[in-house]
Symmetry: C2
Subunit: 314 residues, 2 copies
């Protein structure tokens, strides 16, 4: 089994390699998710450079030299490659703002990333398969816990407590991206999203851009307004009494035309004071995707007095 | 090109065939989604029997006979098969409640469904490939619009306006099921779900069962409490000042132990009256999946007076 300090360095490499793969996948798309690219670039700099490479440059490499590894050997090669990585990353960071808007610069950005990625993958392979095994012959028993402790200190000082897991989760979240925006929801299992929406004290119903009921929460639970599976696929116009259909149509039409974003109503119902609201759902380009109804009893909010803060919790 | 009346009958077949395939897939699972099975059985009866088969038995078959098709020919075979389908479906419906709870009856249920499914698929093939083409030689030009009109009338009288699309949407929604419950959300693209949650006038943050921030809505939008991507993967304990961490831990611990379902707070903040609530997220078996924070300004709800109904909309 590998020593903890080697595991820590190799785990860092896994995050970096994954970020590289997702980055490449983004660059292959005709419509790129530039937010994801920008975030990945930050990950590669923040985690790869200020955290991982500094573990090596400030602690691991000096220790290897102190223990007798010749300074002109692999450490010199690794240091030179780190410098190349930094140069590439700085170029990419300065090109990014314009590459988003200019097809030629986008191509240049991709080319530079390709060189950076090839260098970094090769560098990781050299460290994992050559340097670390070779280094074990120089590292003394007492150095093993020292290295792990120092690596954790550098991680914490550079990026805060729990940085490894945080960056790993972030890269995993970016892996699930399919659109042109970052969609954090995509990294959650659909069942968890469903359970999350069922946990909210509101009733949600989603009607799609073709005016059909597609989703409502709390399927198997008690609801203020009962809904059953037979509502799925039903036209929203079929869910209202004839005398108000023209108003439903008017509201939806105005939402489709971008003239309206919401419609709100409030009624007394079974001892509750219901706030029934319709919000237009649009994509990042403002295209109408449907309308969501949110129903909640607002009586509890009307009865609140003063404040209750976390520290008031007994 | 096929006449509209043939297209309508064949579209019905597509719904039925899809329901059969999803049904089979459910029966192959070790843990079956009985809600989905029960719903599919309803679809096969309601749509397949009372809508589709009645189009044929009440309108199409009688017309073929009137136009000279011999009564002992394919129509008699089709009628006999419809009767067998009905017999199978009635057996399945009566077995269902016990099959859910008894492994032996579950096996019998599966066997009967297998026979029913084989019969129905074969029947559909015969109608599509033999009866309908043969029938075209008997159907007169004036019958073509008559058949389509009658089919639509039967659909509407048996299941209401828009039944075809409604059942098609429902079957499509069931196709996406992966768990043991029906998850309507699974039939929506993840981007649409994300857009829907961004449209709500609440700020949502989801922390998973390992206490890590995994999702928040309105990523690119103005929020009351700003959140950036760097929060993703962060431990919830890292999102609070040290003096209140013990309370955060206590609340989460109680939720994990099933002793608590929510924690609510309210504060004045920048002219708003914020209701900050935490709801435990659990799966269908009550297992803790995480906690969702919902923040909203409740001042607007406190200012409401009287009622505003849809018909008050001008």
């Amino acid at each position: 089994m590998e020593e903890l300090y080697i595991k820590l360095l190799m785990d860092d490499h896994s995050i970096i390699e994954k970020a590289l793969v997702i980055f490449e996948r983004q660059l292959e798309k005709s419509k790129k998710n530039w937010s994801a690219i920008s975030t990945l670039l930050d990950v590669l700099w923040d985690y790869g450079e200020t955290c991982h490479n500094m573990k090596e440059e400030k602690v691991y490499f000096p220790l290897l030299l102190e223990r007798g590894m010749p300074p002109q050997g692999p450490v010199a090669v690794m240091l030179a490659e780190h410098q190349k990585e930094r140069d590439y990353l700085n170029k990419l960071k300065s090109l990014l703002p314009e590459a988003k808007q200019n097809k030629e610069l986008e191509q240049e950005f991709s080319n530079i990333f390709g060189e950076y990625s090839a260098l970094t993958k090769d560098h990781i392979w050299k460290e994992n398969d050559i340097l670390y095994p070779m280094g074990r012959k120089f590292v003394q028993p007492d150095d093993v816990p020292y290295l792990a402790t120092e690596f954790k200190r550098i991680e914490q000082e550079s990026l805060g407590v729990g940085a490894y897991t945080r960056y790993k989760t972030l890269v995993d979240a970016l892996e699930k991206e399919t659109g042109e925006r970052i969609n954090l929801l995509a990294s959650l299992p659909i069942d968890v999203i469903s359970d999350m929406l069922d946990a909210l004290p509101v009733e949600l119903t989603f009607v799609d851009a073709e005016d059909r009921v597609r989703y409502f929460n709390k399927l198997d639970k008690d609801k203020i307004f009962s809904r059953t599976l037979s509502a799925v696929g039903r036209l929203v116009q079929q869910c209202h009494p004839p005398k108000s259909i023209h108003l439903v149509n008017k509201i939806i039409q105005e939402m489709k035309e971008g003239k309206r974003d919401q419609a709100t109503f409030w009624i007394h119902f079974n001892g509750m004071y219901l706030f029934i609201a319709y919000y237009a759902v649009r994509d990042e380009n403002g295209n109408y995707r449907g309308v969501v109804e949110m129903v909640q009893d607002v009586n509890p909010y009307r009865a609140l007095e003063g404040e209750k803060r976390l520290l008031d919790e007994s």
